[in-house]
Chain length 346, copies 4
Amino acid sequence: MIRFGSDYQEGAHPRILQRLMETNLVQSPGYGEDDFCAEARRIIREKCAAPKADVHFLVGGTQTNRTFLAAALRPHQGVIAADSGHIAVHETGAIEACGHKVIALPSANGKLAAGQVSEYCRRHFTDDSREHMVMPRVVYISNPTELGTLYTRGELNALRGVCDHWNLLLYMDGARLGCGLASPENDLDLPFIAATCDAFYIGGTKQGALFGEALVLCSDALKPDFRYIIKQKGGMLAKGWLLGLQFSELLRDGLYEELSVHAVRQALRIRRALREMGASFLVDSPTNQQFPILTDGQVRRLSAKYAFSDIQPLDGGRTAIRIVTSWATRPEDVDQLIADLREALA
Amino acid sequence: MIRFGSDYQEGAHPRILQRLMETNLVQSPGYGEDDFCAEARRIIREKCAAPKADVHFLVGGTQTNRTFLAAALRPHQGVIAADSGHIAVHETGAIEACGHKVIALPSANGKLAAGQVSEYCRRHFTDDSREHMVMPRVVYISNPTELGTLYTRGELNALRGVCDHWNLLLYMDGARLGCGLASPENDLDLPFIAATCDAFYIGGTKQGALFGEALVLCSDALKPDFRYIIKQKGGMLAKGWLLGLQFSELLRDGLYEELSVHAVRQALRIRRALREMGASFLVDSPTNQQFPILTDGQVRRLSAKYAFSDIQPLDGGRTAIRIVTSWATRPEDVDQLIADLREALA
Amino acid sequence: MIRFGSDYQEGAHPRILQRLMETNLVQSPGYGEDDFCAEARRIIREKCAAPKADVHFLVGGTQTNRTFLAAALRPHQGVIAADSGHIAVHETGAIEACGHKVIALPSANGKLAAGQVSEYCRRHFTDDSREHMVMPRVVYISNPTELGTLYTRGELNALRGVCDHWNLLLYMDGARLGCGLASPENDLDLPFIAATCDAFYIGGTKQGALFGEALVLCSDALKPDFRYIIKQKGGMLAKGWLLGLQFSELLRDGLYEELSVHAVRQALRIRRALREMGASFLVDSPTNQQFPILTDGQVRRLSAKYAFSDIQPLDGGRTAIRIVTSWATRPEDVDQLIADLREALA
Amino acid sequence: MIRFGSDYQEGAHPRILQRLMETNLVQSPGYGEDDFCAEARRIIREKCAAPKADVHFLVGGTQTNRTFLAAALRPHQGVIAADSGHIAVHETGAIEACGHKVIALPSANGKLAAGQVSEYCRRHFTDDSREHMVMPRVVYISNPTELGTLYTRGELNALRGVCDHWNLLLYMDGARLGCGLASPENDLDLPFIAATCDAFYIGGTKQGALFGEALVLCSDALKPDFRYIIKQKGGMLAKGWLLGLQFSELLRDGLYEELSVHAVRQALRIRRALREMGASFLVDSPTNQQFPILTDGQVRRLSAKYAFSDIQPLDGGRTAIRIVTSWATRPEDVDQLIADLREALA
């Protein structure tokens, strides 16, 4: 069984394990107040051109999202997200469990359009009965989205404008941010993201680390007492330096970018091959997740040898599947998959 | 600086890192549904003589406590704990953030007495206005306690009896359970704990793992849908096999016990030496935390060379400090500490 | 200004005020443990043919919904509702504030179809990743709905079947239940509702009381400790007998039904007149809320003299408005409204 | 049975019922945006010499406390209260259900001393591990306290000073505020309270209204979006004018003060008589609650004829009971009680 089911099915890049071995008996204070975290924070601030940003390291994405949103929202406020957004669908109500509604707006490609958000806010803030409804306060976007798509600079600027107009915070879930930035179709960079979003996180779990996400708080209003809330929400790792160590190793000399380029390159090879075979896609993704549409027979045939996800049954006996590559994907496995796809689709 | 400040200031036992290296590129499904976790579960059930127990692996202690209590309690119910209990003091209100009161009962030595719990429950359940008060439903104990003390078989049996009488659940926080079981003054074992508690956890973070706690659900009523709640509370590690791998390595052939014996032995060397010097203790601990009382001058002097915690200022210019040993404590560091203590206290 | 804006813009039926006066100095125990509440409970159980039901009196609808759902749901569970449902839209996230997602399914007429619920549950419970999603546990319906429509016996039976199949609870918000039962198109009655739903409430606030809702818990599993949760959620009225007194007065000899018949009759007079004028409706409602579609000019003209709600802007310069009648609506005001509508629409 | 069990066992002062009757069919907009509430707000601002205060009307005390605290606190913050405080003991964990710890400090007489609060805050804010503990943010006091005692101007000023020093909010639960202000031992007034507290409420339920509490928000930071939170917490009464009407009737010409003076006078008659009989008291209360200590035999004897609460069993076969008077207490019932006490204690 060759697994294309997710980008978190192997351990970490060997350099990370190597550094874990080397530093294993170095004594460090706990809870992220150590030298490794300090070093990683320094690197991240520098790469983001955000010298005053606060950087916190958490273990996983759901934890990061819920901790951030719990800190950012007052009780009556909610977060706007695409209806395919991770917080709207795949976190078992983690945001609601912190007391906040996820206001899900329809989206075909995983992205929120500035116009949608603007229209929703206009209706809310001009309604005489608005006190009977949840007040929108944060706009949650993921980049790449859960469907592999990317925001452009123009789209992000437009969302920023809407947020400024309606006094909203803009938050980017960057679980796969490296793969986004590594896409040939990307026009963002970290300084732009840090200047445009109030907060975002740089994903580690799906990008070469054993685990870990680096949350960057750009806006001053979000900073006070954040560590209290990390602790309360169960996200303060005792041996916090394990997080700092991984991020500093990934980010200090381009390893993070290199691994992301690899993952995206393998995915785009699959995209190109499928396009040549005439396959269609649920959504056109320029990143490490691909969503081809196959017949149910083709799906069955491939399932014998490969692990991937069935995303959505379609009419005509067809199914959209998800194929995911990562830093660890072996090019020869992609070769084999392409060959087998060619045979199955012939 | 030699650190006796906590038992989570080094990485993991080298065998764990070794196994991480060896298995790094094995592809596994996420979220704890992998072979490593299955193996660790099998070992734990066997060691606990609890073939039907459910075992879940979480990253840290606060996370484990809040996830368990959120799953176990209805909205109007609370958890009884000693006023020194970790959930009562050092989790930034994590339990309250899940909606539940921690009912803190006074304790001088970190332990809850059956009589206290019984009396509290009797008062609650016989009060005509009890609906205006939080209903006690879980008894939280830690073993060893936050003050290093241990429950005896008799004490646990008595608590069990009270729980049965008042329809309460008994939950043991085992962050340092290995050190408890390794103490020469201990008379518990895992099968007894599993038979007596409704749930408990076997700590990894402070016991030789990089991180991780193994939660054992003994009572059937606690089992349904538990994984939903782990996910919601942010505790479901994407690369869940990292937890299973560590626990199976620690538990499969006695490593866990060996490391615990080491930690306790080093602590008891310090206790013995201090006793010989005539020092007194805040509490008499037979495990890996020691709480000697020193003069403020002695504390200052030692602080130049050693890291430890000031626990409590006392009258007469004295302070109770906490010295903690772990699996990684070097005997030569303990030798040195004892020598320096002898000099300082002379 | 004549108000058709809501059914809670006058006080209470005079018989209620009369009884308040007469009993004002009778000393009663607090919190609903008095003779008035006992009497009202007896009458409700009898009218519902539900001798074992638990009946609790709360002050308002949002309070009742959130208290019931907080009591019924475990942390990972959510409630399915129509996207127009009161809990989904107009309670400022009260359910989410208790930690639970409102799973909003699309509905054009305010009602949930059994098929929708069934399909949603099938997808959830057959998904391998269901632990990453909120588990549906309660089906929330309102009858009449927020759009004035009614469930039939067949529809309720079908929902009951789905609930039984997927282990869901069926809960009816009866804020305007009297008006539902008083509609000529209704085929339900209280014994059927009590036998079909796990819980429901009989609205008082909009049905002739100063305030108050009577929550009926039919299923045994919902009963334990419910009063604790009412107290915790802030819904336990100190002078609880004020609630019992009102319900016993309304229900003891048919006043509740009489007032509901009056409200519906006035609304249906407006419906009939509008139909005769050729007006169209956003939804066809047989109860005390009517949703005619007018031109913006007509709306402006009527607004000078009448208070009502703009519900939804439509294309072609038209708007759907909401006209509501109640027990207190004066027939002569309806006469006048019909005359003015005739003039405006001519 | 003559009831001295609480101050909420009769309805409302007849003038309130009279006004309800007279205005019953006046049509008003809902949710507190009506003329009655506007009038009551105007009167309260004037009496408090707080022209910029926001005033909100809620139905009950627990609801008011939890709504205020939910609005005032961020997730990691808690509220300091005396261990006998209503929120600490008698609200079924309503504050915890909103996610916040009640930090209970020991108190013998129901009051918090400035020194206690200061010392707690000093310890918290100077602790290196403070992020692992709940941050104190609000100081909750009740005046009169649950034990009938009163704060002096000096004590309130001292608490204000501590709050300013540690950046805390000062909140007064005034469920029985009228009785406090009416006590001969009181030296506070409404303008002083409004100038010293960040928020407080003027109780209605126990002071002559059917129900209702008037929450006064003095500090600007507490004002934004407060109505959203009232709605979310279930406290927004549909027929909100019922609250405004009662408060304007009580406050417009001294009725509130008159009723409070009556209640306190009756209680102090009982106190004086008991003192003359040589009785001792659990606490010395100058307000409408009295806590005499009787022998168990005396308690039994009186119970046959009077309803009151057993507060605390004491040694020597004695019990502290609570006797409460109200605006509705009949002087002849007090005469009779005193006579019967004299006989029982002879």
